[in-house]
Symmetry: D2
Subunit: 344 residues, 4 copies
């Protein structure tokens, strides 16, 4: 069975394993204040062109989202996001567990627009009983989204401008950030995220690391006491240097970019193979997740040799499935898949 | 200005004021264990034909909903309810503040069906990553709903059967329970609610009392330690007898029923007056809230003399508004309104 | 049985009952924005010499404490208070239920000092792992304390200065505020509390009202969105005017002061009766709660005719009990008690 | 600088690094349902002689404590523990952040007794207003404690019997479990913990792993839906096999025991060196943490070459410090330290 079902099926990039091995018996302070974390912070600040940013390392995405959001909101506020947002659907109510409602905006492709944000905000304040409603307190978007789609620079700039006009911090879930930046149609950079958002994270778990997400805070007002929040939510790793070492490695010699490009290139090859067979796609994803709408026969045939995710039913005799590539995807696996698609 | 904007614009029924005055210098223990509370409990158990039920008195509806729901759910569970549900929209995230997500079901008239409940439940358990989703932990409905609509006995029996099959406690928000029971088309009784639900409350605030909601718990498994929850959520009134005295009065000599019938009768007269003028209604409400779709001219004219609520915009030159009657609505006010409608 | 067991055994002062009756059929908007609430706010601002203060009305003390504290703290912060503080002991973990630790300072008489506050603060910041500890976020004191003791102006000024130096808002639980202000040795005024604290409440439930606590916010930074917090925690009374009417009455013609003086005068008479018999007291209370240390025989004899609270065991054959007076205490009951003490 | 300041200064045991490397490109499902986790579960069940136990893997100790405790308690309940308990002092209020109070029992050495547990329980239920207090909902102990002390089998059996009599689940924080089991005076086994407790965890982070704590649930009533709690609290590692691989390695060929014995042997040598110099100890620890009471001169001299933790001030010219050994402590470092102690 060859796995295309997710982007976290393997361990970590060899360079990370090597570095972990080399540094194994160094003695460092715990909790993220060691030299490796400091070095990784410096590298990330440079990559983001944000020398004044605070950078924190957390183990996983749900944790990162929860800590970011709970650190920003007051009790009566909620996080505005797409109905498809990871925090709205697949984090077991982690945000609600910190006391906050997720205020959803309908979305099919996973994206939301500046106009929708303005409308949600207005809907709250125009209600004569606005004090009886949860107050929008921040906007959360994912880039790429859970459906593999991405924001253009123009779209992100519009969202950012709207959020600033409304006084709503903009938070970005970048669990697959690398794959977004590597998309063929991408016109955004980490520096753009640093410039346009208030807080975002750069995902490591799905992009070459064993685990780890780097939270970047550019809004000064949101920096205070962030480490308390990390600790309180169970996110402060005792051997914090493990996170520092991984991000140090990823942000040296362009590794984060190169592994991301590899994954997206493989995804584009798979996409093309399906397209050639006349298969349509559920979402216009130019990133590492592809959502072909497969006829049942093709789905069944492919499932004998490959694992992929069931995404959703799609009318008569068709199903949307997800094929995921990653930093670890082997070219020979992709080639085999392409050959099999071609002859089905 | 004559007020039809809500059903809590006046104080309390004279009988309650009288009883408060008569008992004012009685010395009783606090926190709801006094003779008046005990007497009110007995009267309510009898009215519900539920001699084994636990009865607790709380001050308001948001408090009652929060305490009921937080007492039932485990941390990873959520409350299933209509998108229009009071807990979903107009309680400032009180449920989320206790850590729980509100899992909404689309609804136009405010009601949900047994089929929808089954589908939400199935959607959770069929997801391969169900542990990444909030688990449905109870079902919350309002009767009458926020739109004035009501469940029939057949509908409530179907919901109850479904909930029991799925292991989901059924909780009913009865803030306007009296007005539901007094609806011309009603075929439900308090005893039906006691039989078909696990926990529900009988609203006093909107039905003749200064304040107060009586929570009735019929499911033995949900009775334990309920008073701790009341206290923790700030709902344990020091002079608890004030609640006992009010419900004692409301449940003596059929007062709760008679004031409810009065309110609904007035609402039906107003409904008929609009109907006679060819005005349509947004919701098929047979209870104390009426939602006529008014042309702007008529709306403006009525607003000069009467206060009523803006409900929602409704296409070209029309608005949905809400007229509310209550136990305190004066017949002469209704007659005046009817005359004014007739000539507009 | 004559009750001295608590200060909430009766209903409300006649003047309140009368005013409720007179205003019963007025139609007013709900949720605390009616003319009676506005009038009560103005009267309280004047009494506090704090024209810029925000004033909100809540139903009960646990609710008031919870809303005040949860509105101020960020998630990683806690409330510093005496081990005997009401929030630390007798509110069923209401503060913890909002996510915050109560950081206790040892206290025998119920009071804490500026020095202790400084030490708790220093203990936090001097810990090399301060981010692993709950950060002190505000100071909560009760006046009078749960043991009937009171702060002097010098003590409150020292606490206030320390809190301001440390950046910790000072919050005062004034559930029995009236009885503190009426103490023979009192040198504080409501204006002092307004000047020295950031947020405090003036208790109505125990001082003449059916229920109700008036929260006064003098620190501008803490005013924002307070009504959302009230609503979220279930504290926004639909018929808010009931609170307005009660405080309007209490703050007209010095009623709050006069009923408080009455209660304290009765308590002093009881105190003297015990003293005359050589009975010592557990706490140096000059307010409406008295804590004599009774020999078992006397305790048993008094218990036949009077109800009072068991407070704590006190060595060989003695018990600390609590006698409470209130605005409603009848002089003839006190005289009877005094006679009975004299002959025991 | 040679570090004795904590037991998480290095990476992981070579065997773990080797296994991570060997398995790096295996493709496995995420979230802890892979073959390595299954194998580790089986090994731990065997080590605990608890074939029916559920075993879950979490990344860190604060996370493990929070998930365990929040999964057990109802909202009005609290966790009983020593004043020195990690959850009471050094987890930034993580337990309170889930809504629960930590109910502390005074303790000097870090241990609590069956008698103290009974007394806390009785104190709650004997209070006439017990519903106004947080209800004890479970007992949390650490083994070894934060002060390095350990429970004897007799003590643990007494605590367990008391907890079962009172209906309180017993939860054990075993962050340093290995070092407790390796103590010279230990008479407990993992099987004893499985038999006597309801839920406990076996620490990996401080005992040879990069990170990881294995939660063992032996009480059937507490097993349900535990994975939801892990996910909600941000503790479900995407590449869960990393935890499985580490515990698989630690529980193969007695590695967990042997690295633990190494650490304790080194600690005993250091202890003896101090004893030989007439240095007293703050706590009677036979585990990897040692708390000598150092004269200021000796402290200063040692601090030039070694890092160790300041624990607490100790009267005139003395300080309690902590020396920690671990699985990674080098014998030559210990020998050097012993030589330096000898000549001071």
């Amino acid at each position: 069975m060859i796995r295309f079902e997710c982007d976290y099926a393997e361990g970590a990039h060899d360079a990370i394993l090597k570095k972990l091995s080399e540094t194994n018996f160094e003695q460092t302070p715990g909790y993220g204040v060691d030299p490796h974390c400091e070095s990784a912070r410096a590298l990330i600040r440079t990559a983001c062109k944000a020398e004044a940013a605070d950078v924190h390392f957390l183990v996983g995405g749900t944790q990162a989202n929860t800590v970011m959001i709970a650190s920003i909101l007051r009790p009566h506020q909620g996080a505005v996001c797409a109905t498809t947002g990871h925090i709205a659907v697949h984090e077991t109510g982690a945000i609600e567990a910190t006391g906050h409602k997720v205020l959803t905006i309908p979305s099919d492709d996973g994206k939301i627009s500046a106009e929708q944000i303005r409308a949600v905000h207005a809907g709250h304040w125009n209600d004569s009983t606005h004090e009886h409603m949860v107050q929008p307190g921040l906007v959360y978007i994912s880039h790429p989204t859970e459906n593999g789609t991405t924001y253009s620079k123009a779209e992100l700039e519009a969202i950012s401008a709207e959020c600033r006009a409304l006084g709503l911090p903009l938070v970005v879930d970048g669990a697959r950030m690398g794959y977004g930046l590597a998309a063929p149609d991408n016109d955004l950079s980490l520096a753009d995220f640093a410039r346009l958002c208030d807080m975002f994270y750069i995902g490591g778990t799905k992009v070459g690391a064993f685990f780890g997400e780097a939270v970047v805070i550019t809004n000064d007002a949101l920096k205070k006491d962030f480490r308390y929040h990390i600790k309180q939510r169970g996110g402060m790793l005792a051997k914090g240097r493990l996170l520092g070492i991984q991000f140090e490695t990823l942000f040296t010699d362009g590794l984060y970019e190169s592994v991301s490009r590899h994954a997206v290139a493989q995804a584009m090859r798979i996409r093309k193979a399906f397209e050639t067979k006349g298969i349509a796609f559920r979402h216009a994803s130019m990133t590492n997740q592809q959502f072909p709408i497969l006829p049942d026969g093709m789905k069944k045939a492919l499932a004998e040799k490959y694992s992929f995710s069931h995404w959703e039913a799609y009318g008569d005799g068709h199903t949307v499935v997800r094929f995921c590539t990653s930093w670890a995807t082997k070219e020979e696996h992709v080639e085999q898949l392409i050959r099999d698609i071609a002859v089905l």
